[in-house]
């Protein structure tokens, strides 16, 4: 049985905080890049990078934050969900997919290292699962946890094969699965699961690169909903430590927003 807390202890609900003028919070999106020229993301991308692989060694390259850096459309959709829920979110776009045409374990690892050791953004969204260097990823997530950074990570869509995926399975991250909810501000705590939260990831309307909107489904699009809610909570209560944030999320999961909240 999940205990319920009185609203006076919880503060304001995420959907209420979305209407407040909150201080900006950086949400670093490790993904396929972001189309910063899309109207839904105009002025929301604070910085953009991509990972180049040169002589088998990855390196971070800064690019203009005012361009279409997305090669697949995945990152633009993810950033769109974050920005749609959290008006105070400022996106840091780190493209780790699509370098040399395919996804690359070393590129993802370098992107995460950059997020944790260099950029130190408050929130890191990983709608991707790493497939290599589990211990290194775990170490970086530990560093992030102790530095008060919040990593929100997706469960793999095809988790029946090859496991849940990391960092979602690490306890120092906030892990997210997909479910259908009436609003993107609604989510559910999973009492007996390694994956702690389920958020709305079914038929989510998202910005598409080059302009326009499309519909996406999957854990990839549930995860940024939780990242956006975290940006609101951290914006309102900047002193929150990761474990306190998780506790707050758990509490709000049983206090769903009213009908009509987006």
């Amino acid at each position: 049985m999940i205990p319920t807390w009185p609203f006076s202890v919880l503060g304001e609900a995420p959907h209420v905080l979305a209407c407040r003028d909150l201080p900006p919070i950086e949400v670093l999106v490790l993904d396929s890049g972001v189309d910063a020229t899309h109207p839904a993301l105009a002025g929301r991308v604070a910085a953009a990078y991509h990972i180049e692989i040169e002589n088998d060694r990855p390196r971070v390259v800064e690019i203009s934050p005012n361009t279409n850096n997305d090669v697949f459309g995945h990152g633009t959709a993810v950033a769109g969900v974050v920005c749609g829920l959290a008006p105070n979110a400022r996106i840091v776009d780190v493209r780790v997919l699509g370098a040399n045409g395919v996804g690359s374990g070393p590129a993802l690892l370098e992107g995460l290292r950059f997020a944790v050791e260099n950029r130190k953004s408050k929130i890191v969204n990983m709608s991707l699962a790493a497939k290599v260097s589990k211990d290194t990823v775990l170490g970086l997530c530990e560093t992030a946890y102790y530095a008060n950074q919040i990593i929100v990570a997706s469960k793999r869509n095809n988790a029946f094969f090859g496991g849940i995926g990391f960092p979602a399975e690490f306890s120092n991250c906030i892990s997210v699965d997909t479910e259908s909810f009436p609003t993107q501000y609604a989510f559910k705590y999973q009492q007996d699961s390694i994956i702690e939260f389920e958020a709305h990831g079914e038929e989510v309307v998202v910005p598409a690169p080059g302009g326009g909107y499309t519909t996406k489904t999957g854990t990839s699009f549930a995860t940024p909903a939780v990242a956006g809610i975290c940006a609101l909570l951290v914006g309102a209560y900047p002193e929150l430590r990761p474990f306190e944030l998780k506790t707050l999320l758990r509490a709000w999961s049983v206090n769903p927003p009213p009908q009509g909240a987006r």
Binding site: V71, V102, F161, G162, Y213, T214, T215
Partner: protein, 229 residues
């Protein structure tokens, strides 16, 4: 050998046997029925060109004729995304605005929704299995994508095992050809090797004598070259 089989052999690495092709077709058809799709395609990874090539399309013979042998870059599109992330992806059309009333592009003949599921063996990418629907307004759910992903895993394993079997059979055939080519001389060499093998196993103390004897024969037969031992 018909055209389809030729393409299967060229792009799929599957020998043109109807057994494998039929099983793959059966698998894709079953997957399509489960997710209520009208068409399904199997794209195989061509590592050399870093592309995904259409090796089989089920559900529409016109599409099959049009798509077979076509390739899509690995770094583009929903299939490329599925390959890059090793994750099942779901696609839908792009609309002009958030209310999704007016389509941004297309002539109306493009798919309404797509599932692209990676065919994996371990973490090795074999290809991508796609399912498409043309039913207006239909969207694939996460559950349907997950189920189709399972069919992709089995298809990947089938293609990989077929390739392995073909490679094994090919190596075996080459070995048989090589043995035939050895002829009488080869058989005599084989007799000598087998004789030394038996000696080593049963009378190891006699090996020194055998070695000396072989060296003496060699010196007698090849006086100019001298002994090697």
């Amino acid at each position: 050998m018909n055209e389809t089989n030729t393409i299967l052999a060229a792009y799929l690495g599957v020998m043109p046997k109807t057994r494998e092709e039929n099983v793959l077709r059966l698998l894709i058809e079953s997957g399509m029925n489960v997710v209520e799709a009208e068409e399904g395609s199997l794209l195989v990874l061509d590592e050399a060109s870093q592309t995904l090539r259409f090796a089989m399309t089920v559900g529409n013979s016109d599409s099959e004729k049009k798509l077979l042998g076509q390739s899509v870059p690995l770094g583009k599109g929903l299939s490329g995304l599925a390959a890059a992330t090793r994750e099942v992806q779901i696609g839908a059309p792009t609309f002009k605005d958030i209310t999704q009333h007016e389509r941004l592009e297309g002539d109306g003949n493009e798919p309404e929704a797509v599932i692209a599921a990676p065919m994996l063996v371990g973490d090795d990418l074999i290809g991508v299995l796609t399912a498409v629907t043309f039913v207006r307004g239909k969207r694939f759910s996460g559950k349907q994508a997950e189920l189709y992903g399972r069919f992709a895993i089995v298809a990947g394993l089938l293609v990989e095992q077929t390739r392995r079997l073909a490679a094994y059979e090919s190596a075996n055939a080459a070995a048989l050809v090589s043995a035939d080519a050895m002829g009488e001389r080869g058989r005599q060499e084989q007799d000598i090797v087998e004789s030394i093998g038996r000696l080593t196993r049963e009378r190891p103390e006699a090996l020194a004598h055998a070695a000396a004897l072989l060296a003496a024969v060699e010196a007698l037969a090849l006086p100019g070259l001298g002994g090697t031992r």
